[in-house]
Symmetry: C2
Subunit: 71 residues, 2 copies
DNA sequence: TTATTTTTATCGTTTTGCAATAAATTTGTT
DNA sequence: AACAAATTTATTGCAAAACGATAAAAATAA
């Protein structure tokens, strides 16, 4: 099992593109993409906070606990 | 608003002390205490994973979105 | 094809997780 | 009060990683 960041669901729900989100979260588009695709091994709570704020959601909405029997 | 880590609820539910948890999470007691008391500014997903595993819970169970109008 | 969005990659800086260790503080027990 | 156990706080140090800045590649849309 592994924890992954899933922004897709909330982004779709809020109809926000990565580009839009990056602007609001105040993080570079490139780095947000890394977070979104689980290339990051850690997250600053501050960043998570900004994302939740921008997507108007709870941490639990974007953090998932999944089987890592993929890829 | 800020995201905080709240281990107390799940620790109580699982009846686990910090000392026990530290052993299972494979992190030093000192550092787990830091996480527990929100002195950490970031968390490794790997660590979060180990904590969720040890407490048998979801990330959303230990991550809270609260007003930072305290202390 | 052309434009737009997203993903990858590289370099450099700064931050921070975490170990190791030890001391201080709190909590529990008799 | 006295003692033990658990928790918190503090230091030092290092390796790892976030994130910025930037640019190029790849994917998606029009």
């Amino acid at each position: 099992m592994a924890i992954i960041i899933n922004l897709d669901v909330m982004m779709a729900k809020r109809k926000k593109s990565l580009t839009e989100l990056a602007g609001e979260v105040d993080i570079t588009l490139a780095n947000l993409s890394i977070l979104k695709n689980n290339k990051a091994k850690a997250v600053r709570l501050e960043t998570l906070d900004a994302i939740c704020k921008a997507l108007n959601c709870q941490p639990g909405d974007i953090l998932e606990y999944v089987e890592d029997t993929e890829d």
